[in-house]
Symmetry: C2
Subunit: 347 residues, 2 copies
DNA sequence: TTGAAAGCGCTAACAG
DNA sequence: CTGTTAGCGCTTTCAA
């Protein structure tokens, strides 16, 4: 069989660095130097080799480069590609790395620790030059271990680790902005939808937002007026939150949903019951997702600029690949976007 | 500098196939055979090597594999990761390839022919074993050229090419379902929002939907009642469509928007004007996107099962990598999802 | 400044 | 059934 049949498809042999070197009449080592803009090549040689590369349409093989040096490719792990925020993030990252001739490879890793760990391993196996993990569900310890193997930057976790870089929104400040705004409107009794009050991992944005909310309420001597309910951060969770808020003895006049998706679920549920916002209570989200200002939906929310966060994390990772060993942890300033789901309380 | 400093980070040396072979007391060739489940290894050796791999935590280097054989990685090109349909597609693909120990790498390529071509090149440079392109904005000719270099499957284009596989919804049937449904409701004058009536590329779903619409109307002797307006397939385009429909001498009693995004833009615009659907006219979308049934939005639309399409395209690509050289073009049956934006005409 | 040559981790002949 | 060996395309010493 093997001997008689041709391969399924006779693919054109690729142009290699050897072809380029031959064409330019230099050694492969020289061609390699030109390719990498490395030190030790005369201007004339540089030009000659460059010309050959262009003429032959040479494109270096990433795997081959990866075996000795860099692949010039960064890996990005996200839980699920279906998230508008990730998309904007990716755009920000690309805008920074493309000019440095880096590529971005994205892998969706699901919402479980196990599948995320596998995805990270796969990225490492592909010899990525560096990794960006978006809101990873991995322990600090696991992240440290990964950082020992490969330059690492994370987005959306308030890390203090000395071995990796991080970029996240100042969620605490975000919560404070919301409380300020609602109190300014005249609200005193304010609800918060927490994802998990007792999550041991205090670095997760969910927890920082909750802590920030409680702090802000405390600072205004309104801690007694803080109504915290618990539900998953999903549309479903929003529906549940509506029920939990309704079940309160003294329901709040405003609710800070913790995330847009929750607020949207709440709006949806309220609508189904023939109730509207802000007539039922004022409602605030967090994320400024696309859906938060679409058609009849016009949700007051907090914006964390995904574009800037993407650009920043890309810069950090490139620096780290470049040799920086100290850690940089950046907090980006969020901004309150007042829209029509908030108003002064009725009574 | 170079000589005195250690590398930025001393990364642990990876376990290689040589280590495994040494540990198991066999040759690297034998270890490789076990790794690849290749023919010619006794059961006892297989077990011994497998045990060593597990014990040492061996993970093969993809680049190294890619240099000689396969990388066991498929590349997926999408225009923008922020598209719910792509996400579902990716899930479908993963569910099929994971059990075959393949990985998926996604790269966002933008909406321009140039940037998409670059992205495809990058994927090829990474030695992917095969490529899945989602609704590529590339000429038939370009696709043929790519297919000559690498196993190729595309989603969302009605291709007839002999050198690549394709999966798409039967958009023509989808349009027919919509016309049937609307006519059944009593509508005769029906509008359609086309993306570009004169696009020369008749394989694009936009064109197939338009042609299918006109065919279906013709078959019912209603061609004179077909009102085709033109606008980009975006929310903005939806707003424009509302104006164009309003400008008609005899406005239609129902509008088939061609895509959910357009229908949603129309709903949004109508709402802003204080008008509602289906009171103004019945409205139908296409895609059954998440947003089509969210909160107060409850759009009649056509569903193309992204999950099944993903599974199918993955199967096709694996087959092709496996050696199939004939082309397979699959049309998936779409389904009409009646919701509350459609009703019988008033007059 | 340039080139020769070794080797990255793996697979694929080919011998034994 | 098993092992030896020669590369894949690139980078990197190390000499010239």
């Amino acid at each position: 069989m093997e001997g008689t049949n041709r391969p399924a498809k006779a693919r054109r042999k690729r142009v290699t660095i050897v072809d380029v070197a031959k064409h330019a009449g230099v050694s492969t080592a020289a061609a390699s130097k030109v390719l990498r803009n490395a030190y030790g090549a005369s201007e004339s040689m540089r030009q000659r080799v460059q010309a050959s590369m262009d003429e032959l349409g040479y494109r270096p093989s990433r795997p081959a480069r990866g075996m000795r040096g860099r692949t010039f490719t960064l890996g990005m792990m996200v839980s699920d590609i279906d998230n508008p925020f990730f998309s904007i993030l990716a755009r920000g990252i690309s805008s920074v790395i493309r000019p440095n001739s880096y590529e971005l490879m994205i892998t969706p890793a699901g919402y479980e620790t196990g599948s995320q760990a596998d995805a990270v391993d796969a990225l490492i196996d592909h010899q990525m030059d560096g990794l960006i993990l978006v809101a990873p569900i991995l322990s600090e310890e696991h992240l440290e271990r990964v950082a020992r193997e490969i330059p690492l930057a994370i987005v959306g976790l308030h890390s203090q680790s000395p071995s990796l870089d991080s970029v996240s929104a100042d969620d605490s400040l975000g919560s404070e902005l919301v409380v300020d705004y609602l109190v300014g409107l005249g609200h005193r009794r304010i609800g918060f939808v927490a994802r998990d009050r007792d999550d041991p991992d205090s670095s997760r944005p969910e927890m920082v937002r909750l802590a920030g909310f409680l702090d802000a309420m405390d600072r205004r001597h309104l801690l007694d007026e803080a109504v915290v309910v618990e539900g998953p951060w999903s549309q479903e969770g929003g529906k549940e939150a509506v029920r939990l808020i309704d079940a309160q003895d003294r329901p709040p006049t405003a609710v800070f949903a913790g995330a847009d998706i929750v607020a949207l679920g709440m709006i949806s549920e309220l609508w189904n019951q023939g109730r509207t916002v802000p007539d039922t209570y004022s409602l605030v989200g967090f994320d400024n997702s696309n859906a938060s200002s679409f058609g009849p939906i016009d949700l007051t929310t907090v914006d964390q600029s995904g574009l800037e966060m993407g650009q920043q994390v890309a810069r950090l990772l490139l620096e780290r690949i470049g040799g920086r060993t100290s850690a940089v942890h950046t907090l980006m300033h969020p901004e309150l976007i007042p829209r029509s789901t908030t108003a002064s309380p009725r009574n």
